[in-house]
Every structure is written in C-alpha cells, then in structure tokens.
Symmetry: C2
Subunit: 110 residues, 2 copies
Amino acid sequence: MHRKKPGIDRVFHALGDPSRRAIIEKLSEGPISVSRLAEPLNITLAAVVQHLQVLEESGLVQTEKTGRVRTCRIEPAGLSVAAEWIGDRRSTWERRLDRLGDLLAEPGEN
Amino acid sequence: MHRKKPGIDRVFHALGDPSRRAIIEKLSEGPISVSRLAEPLNITLAAVVQHLQVLEESGLVQTEKTGRVRTCRIEPAGLSVAAEWIGDRRSTWERRLDRLGDLLAEPGEN
DNA sequence: CCAATTGTCAAGTGGGTACTTAAGTAATTT
DNA sequence: AAATTACTTAAGTACCCACTTGACAATTGG
C-alpha cells in the first residue's frame, strides 16, 4: 500500500538547519570546494565538513575528492524527495476539497 | 548579515520533526481535533499541543477553539513557502545547466 | 451538581546536535 | 625538503528541543 521512505526523515532533518540550507543555496549555483563553501558562512571549516556529512548521508549532496580538494555538488534527487512529500500532502488536501465541492454542488434540495 | 525571509527558517525547522510531519499528513486529510490528532501518535497530548504551537507559529497550521474542542486545519500557504524554496534552488541549478549546455553546443560543427 | 471530556500550562529531564579547538594527514608549491 | 594548502578527525561543551509528569482550567453530558 504505502511503504515508508527512509530517506525522507534525513532529508527534512538536513533541511531543518539554516547553515545547511545556506550550503545548498550555494551549491545550487554550481560545484565548489569545501573551503570556498565555508568562506561566506561564519563557522569553522570543521563545522562545514560536519554539515556536509549530514547532507551527503541524506542524499542532498554528493562529494568527490581529487587530490587534496573535495568538490561538492548538489544531488537533485534529494530535493525531489522533499518536493514529492509536499506535493503528496497538497494533492490529498486538494482531493478532499474537490469531494467537498462535489457535495455542495450535488443536486439535493436540502 | 544576510537578510532572508524569516518564515522559511521556522517552516523548515517545523518540517524537520517526524511527529510534526505526521501531524501535517493527518491534517491534509481534513480538519480534526487535538485529541484525535494525538491518537495515532504515541506521544502524550501535551506533546502534541507543543508541536501544534510550533506548527502554528511557522504558518503551516491554523487552529480555532470552539467550546472545549480545538479544531486544527492545514494552512496551504505554509507548505508553499517550503515548496518555493525548493523550486528556487532547482531553477538556479537548471539555469546553470542550461548555460553549460549552451557553451557546449555553441561554436561548432562536430 | 458531579463527572467525564478536552485541552492548557509549568517545570524538569535526557538526548541530540551545532559548534569549537586542537592535532593530524595528505597533496601541492616553492 | 620545508612550507603551505586543504581538508580530516577527535573530543569537549553548551545549548536546544522533544517529551513527560502533574496540576489546573473550561466545557459538556447525565
């Protein structure tokens, strides 16, 4: 019937933190290294690395290390998980409103 | 520092908690009272009330008390805030991919 | 009125987590 | 080889937050 997606918890938890959302905002402009990601945020590099771990485990971000530089990029499927959940809630809500509308439009002399 | 929409923080923080998402899932099926909301969750009524406060402050839920019953309903605009943020990230990401595609397609008889 | 229903408020607790510092590793530059 | 760059890891701290308990309204049904 409806199976539970395990990723959804991690995705929304990851998006719940402002610093992590700032990271995603930056990453949506294109791939970038860890230290350049850290520059605009006023937290230490170590904190950024920790956020990146959370983001990577949630499937929102993908990273790859070549040489001494780790390049981070956004993983579009991650945001889709969140978008789909929101879409699902909206659709059931709208479906209910439709049923309500049908009842009101029904040809009963009440 | 950064001037951002204040609501976004609260909305995503609210959505970050599984119990609160469960509440929203239930509410998307239609308005319901606090105690009936609490039934399927294994937390106390008091905890549900606290979650409802967060949800209401974030603009995701609207409640109204008549008699001794508080009826809760979903506030569609709240979810839109989250959906828009996700949409914005996606569009800047896609815009960038388009520019990349243009560069690759631009000069050449291949 | 009495009692059950339905929710509210306050305070406390335990676990989680965002952040820091500090020390370490590995790749590049000079 | 030495210095610099770019992370990585570990450990500690302080704060936040989800949840509980328990006492307290306020409404409503018998």
